[in-house]
């Protein structure tokens, strides 16, 4: 199977999963939605195994890594900025709805930063970084 065929099958599978989930939502049937997603995932897994070409090379991994990093930076900064706005306006207008939203967004920002730091540490150790290299 070449890359073009794999891409076509991937698009078809995604369409099938989307349609199943849409039908499941209309009929309020969570089992159908879960079954659709799981079948799609299993099917793609086997198709991927059959594909002989390298689907994910270093270049793709590098792009994905950079995109993930950029997404993290933009998302975290946006949430942090929004939390400050909500906290400030909540305190100024004495509105607890805004204030609580600001607090929750602040916690989300901290959670995101902590998660990133931990994941960074784990991955860097996995690829052989020693403690001396960090200092």
């Amino acid at each position: 199977m070449n890359y073009q065929q794999f891409k076509r099958i991937k698009i078809l599978t995604t369409s099938f999963v989307s349609a199943t989930v849409a039908v499941a939502v209309v009929y309020n049937n969570i089992i159908l939605a879960l079954a659709g997603v799981i079948i799609g995932m299993i099917f793609l897994f086997f198709v991927r195994k059959k594909t002989k070409i390298i689907l994910v090379d270093e270049r793709v991994q590098n792009i994905a890594g950079q995109a993930a990093r950029l997404t993290y930076v933009i998302l975290t900064m946006t949430i942090a900025f929004l939390s400050l706005i909500f906290l400030g306006s909540g305190r100024r207008m004495n509105d607890i709805n805004y204030e609580t939203l600001g607090v929750i967004l602040s916690y989300t920002t901290l959670f995101s930063i902590a998660l990133y730091s931990l994941s960074y540490k784990y991955i860097s150790k996995k690829y052989g970084e020693t403690d001396d290299e960090q200092d």
Partner: protein, 132 residues
């Protein structure tokens, strides 16, 4: 033998993720409790006026409506203001509680005693987070 094969780095990562996730959920719950208390205060103040604790005490004392009395007692317990202690103690019947009563059947003795316990200096970790 099996433990040696398991990646130590991975275990540390999973434990770290679990701790961070637990802390995140805990802080969100604290924020939610704080929000609930402030919302009860706001509702009581809009009806009875005055300071938050006074408005909540008015709500508990108001016999014209049973609605919201238990949530007002809960909020008083969460706020931890000592001036509500003697007021709440008046409502304690002292009877043994077979089970937790429903909030729709007048003042819940279970909720009342929980609030009194907090006002007497009981440990309330979530309040420490959302009050500061």
């Amino acid at each position: 033998m099996i433990l040696k094969k398991i990646d130590k780095n991975l275990i540390t990562y999973i434990i770290g993720i679990s701790i961070i996730f637990f802390l995140f959920i805990f802080f969100i719950i604290c924020a939610q409790i704080g929000y609930d208390v402030k919302k009860r205060c706001e509702m009581a103040q809009s009806r009875y006026g005055g300071e938050c604790v006074d408005a909540l005490m008015y709500q508990v004392a108001d016999d014209s409506s049973q609605y919201g009395k238990n949530s007002a007692i809960w909020a008083l317990g969460q706020l931890g203001d000592k001036k509500a202690l003697s007021f709440l103690e008046k409502y304690d019947t002292g009877k043994l509680l077979p089970k937790r009563e429903s909030w729709n059947e007048g003042i819940s003795q279970y909720e009342l005693r929980k609030a009194i316990k907090l006002l007497r200096g009981g440990f309330n970790l979530s309040a420490f987070i959302w009050r500061n």
